[in-house]
Symmetry: C2
Amino acid sequence: MRLLDGKALGETIKGEIAEQVAAMVADGERQPHLAAVLVGNDGASETYVRSKVQSCERVGFASTLLRLPETVSEADLLKTIRNLNDNPDIDGFIVQLPLPRHIRDQAILQAIDPRKDVDGFHPVNVGRMTLGLPSYLPATPYGIMTLLDRYGVETAGAHAVVLGRSAIVGTPMSILLSRNSKPGNCTVTLCHSRSRELPALCRQADILIAALGIPGYVTADMVRDGAAVIDVGITRIPDASRPSGYRLSGDVAFDQVAPKCSWITPVPGGVGPMTVTSLLLNTLQASKRTVSS
Amino acid sequence: MRLLDGKALGETIKGEIAEQVAAMVADGERQPHLAAVLVGNDGASETYVRSKVQSCERVGFASTLLRLPETVSEADLLKTIRNLNDNPDIDGFIVQLPLPRHIRDQAILQAIDPRKDVDGFHPVNVGRMTLGLPSYLPATPYGIMTLLDRYGVETAGAHAVVLGRSAIVGTPMSILLSRNSKPGNCTVTLCHSRSRELPALCRQADILIAALGIPGYVTADMVRDGAAVIDVGITRIPDASRPSGYRLSGDVAFDQVAPKCSWITPVPGGVGPMTVTSLLLNTLQASKRTVSS
């Protein structure tokens, strides 16, 4: 069993990005610039956004954090987005989800200029991804594809089973793994809450992607010997013994599953750090204007 | 075994559309108007476009056929498309594929106003479909979903196996069957030329969608008893005994497979007629401006 170490790979890739940025700046180019919009004071959102801003600093990007109050109107948030769309100093930006209930997610996400949509959530980018055209890939699937690629996990002809059909993880993951590219060319089975006989489906997987958000769901009996297991789950479990008051749990019962695997991601330190890295890669692309939309 | 009779269902739906159009016109509204652009003189394309235009007449739509020579430049074709985008009398239009080699398909398809893209090929519509937002669905998958819906084929929790990952059939089919809707909620396995052990995968299917374009590929040993089988293949096989000089063959060896099935589509008369019906349904929607893009 070998670890797919997202923390280490993320650091390696950040180092590569930092070198590219240093070279760009030495050539007289502007540093890439990512903006993040944070509405309200949700604890997890604060943590994620802070991590993204710190990562920008780490690689030499400029970053801007725009904070708006929980009570901001949809119209005012849309105005903020239009300003970011029109601001030539901003290469890409994200709006941290979830948004307050009085704001429609889709109205916001669709207002983002697809050329600056480094989260890859705009319908134009989702459509371009589905059609196999150059696009900003959503961060989590992009991070998993990068893990598979850099660690040399064989995907062509493999049977990948994806648990969970969310718009930001499971569905795009199934699309990316099935297409004719490297990594890719998997036979892909997409499963979800309505699927029957999930354990038997999981046992067919050469590559198992767990993105259900159910801690410890995947047990050893559901995993074929030699499978590669990717754990996207990251649930906060109350834990009074920790200073934070919680611990993070993946969808995979790591201790019992790991011995059966060829490859496995730890939680934390697997998929999580790769999502931030993906955001940086998308922003670097945005600054080079290499993805047309 | 029961037939999924696309020819009969297509006629039924055309009758329903004709009633709606008659009611619209009686209310003083304009009749829906579809335009088709045909470049060159490909025999199959001529047949398809003629069938689409005739179907428009059948349901009371206005239709316009724009013919351009094989030698038309990409720039001139783009100009034609801009004119159609800007023409308020045209509700929706299609550009018949394939295009001559000197014209880039994607440049053309992406120039179509997504609000008039009744073939559902524009990245915005593909993305909206993938995200589960209202959109124009590509005609063949839409036709298959309509067949499953109108004949009451149970899909929730079923295992659907899709053979073929094309951008216009297999991939969108896998997306539509997996999403949380009715029809939908299938566990979906998407297979293709790089898939291993295809017969064993096919035998898992409660619903088998064959879209490989390989005549007679699916044989009886690949089909589970009681499966619903949808045959998208429609290959012209030279046949001197026919006046046309060819016969049409599906991907399924119908005679041996049909006795095992709960439902099966014939070829011709199954999926084919439903694709034209889907185009009419999309055009009707376009005329009502019910899909925002």
